[in-house]
């Protein structure tokens, strides 16, 4: 079974049940995605959740998402227990609290983060790691907005 997220190449790549293709190539350990509604942020999370939760239909699962942890209000207390995961936080402005922000800021690479966020919440991240989702070549891709060498 293929992994949705490949840790080594730092790429999240899969096709959902409706044929939508996702191909997100990350630049570093943490990425903040912002931007307009209806760009596919929540859909991406919903599809990944189905691969994580659908244990009963394991034989039909096209992908393995074991190395992904999607944070919700119900499991946010488990954030500090994660290791070796791509941690995805959708609508982070509704979920993040000070303690979670501290955990994320202090994480030096045990996990990686994809954070969908509309307003600044204290995550320490340079503009190099801010991006938007966009449709390109029939895939939903991640587009970073700028790159300055010293901001890496």
């Amino acid at each position: 079974m293929r992994q949705c997220y490949d840790w080594q190449s730092n790429v999240l790549k899969f096709t959902d049940v409706n044929g939508n293709k996702y191909n997100l190539k990350f630049r570093g350990n943490k990425t903040i995605v912002h931007g307009d509604s209806a760009t596919g942020k929540s859909l991406l999370c919903t599809m990944l959740k189905s691969y994580i939760n659908d244990n009963n239909n394991a034989s039909f699962k096209p992908y393995n998402a074991d190395n992904i942890f999607i944070v919700s209000k119900d499991n946010k207390d488990k954030l500090s227990l994660q290791k070796g995961k791509l941690i995805i936080i959708d609508r982070a402005e509704l979920i993040l609290d000070d303690q979670m922000v501290e955990i994320i800021n202090a994480d030096r690479g045990d996990n990686r983060y994809l954070i969908f966020l509309r307003k600044p919440m204290g995550i320490e991240l340079s503009p190099n790691y801010f991006g938007t989702l966009c449709k390109k070549d029939g895939e939903l891709q991640l587009e970073y907005e700028c790159y300055v060498r010293g901001w890496a």
């Binding site: 800021n105 030096r108 320490e124 991240l125 901001w151």
Partner: protein, 263 residues
């Protein structure tokens, strides 16, 4: 005209003022004053950066440059997002065909942590600690290579084990490390960099100020004991221009889009 904007009156403001004074004609730059707060006192901090840009906007003319020295380009607090600010400033200044430039380092400390001479001087220090040497070498090399250093490596972890608060985030780490390293160089002259206002006129003045000016304030015996006998700085007995050019060519400045001399 170059307009220099800083977050507050700390050492970074002194530094950039000195750079402009050194490399530009005296009437070709302005250190933008802080706006007045509700109590009539000068307000500072990253939440005043927009106000500072707006205060000079009516005066801006094509070809001018707005230079913003942010303390940390990764600050995204509830009242301020460096990312949004840089985007906003760039768009605003574009309307008048004015360049909007932000400092090209993660935080001010990176400038000196990447400086070959800081590493060289610390290595020559008989009191140098192995944990600090390891962390400094690792940070220096990563900065020079344009890569992030705040990672899970043993060098970083060892330093955090000694300085708990350094593990909070990269900016804290950089600050703790630079203070530790430059404090250890104290016996060789005034090299201790701190965040406090005026540091480059006091505890860290040897990095920037003309050696002859510094010596004038010192007792003759101190000059012999410290400057002549103990100072290991490669720019010993030199002036501000030489010191800044050395920093410019032997730190992350050399790979940035603009160098100190191009300010």
């Amino acid at each position: 005209m170059l307009y220099i904007i800083t977050e507050d009156s700390n050492s970074s403001r002194d530094f950039w003022q000195c750079v402009a004074q050194t490399f530009r004609p005296v009437d070709s730059f302005l250190l933008v004053p802080f706006p007045s707060g509700s109590d009539g006192q000068n307000a500072s901090g990253n939440t005043t950066l927009k106000a500072q840009v707006l205060s000079i906007f009516p005066k801006l003319q094509e070809g001018d440059k707005v230079f913003v020295a942010v303390d940390c380009v990764a600050n995204n607090t509830q009242g301020f997002s460096a990312h949004d600010f840089v985007k906003w400033g760039t768009r605003l200044c574009m309307k008048k065909e004015v360049d909007f430039v932000a400092t090209s380092y993660w935080c001010f400390e990176d400038l000196y942590l990447s400086y070959d001479e800081v590493l060289a001087m610390y290595l020559k220090n008989p009191m140098a600690e192995n944990v600090v040497i390891g962390a400094l070498q690792y940070v220096h090399d990563n900065l020079q290579n344009g890569t992030d250093y705040f990672d899970t490596s043993q060098e970083i972890q060892n330093f955090i084990d000694l300085h708990n608060s350094a593990g909070k985030n990269r900016e804290h780490f950089a600050n703790e490390l630079l203070m530790e390293v430059t404090r250890a160089l104290k016996g060789n002259g005034h090299f201790a960099i701190t965040k406090s206002a005026g540091a480059f006129h006091k505890s860290a003045e040897c990095w920037l100020r003309d050696c002859s000016d510094i010596k004038e304030k010192m007792a003759p015996q101190q000059v012999i004991n410290i400057c002549d006998k103990k100072c290991k700085y490669c720019c010993k007995d030199k002036g501000t221009v030489d010191k800044l050019i050395d920093l410019d060519t032997r730190s992350i400045c050399k790979d940035s889009d603009y160098q100190l001399q191009q300010i």
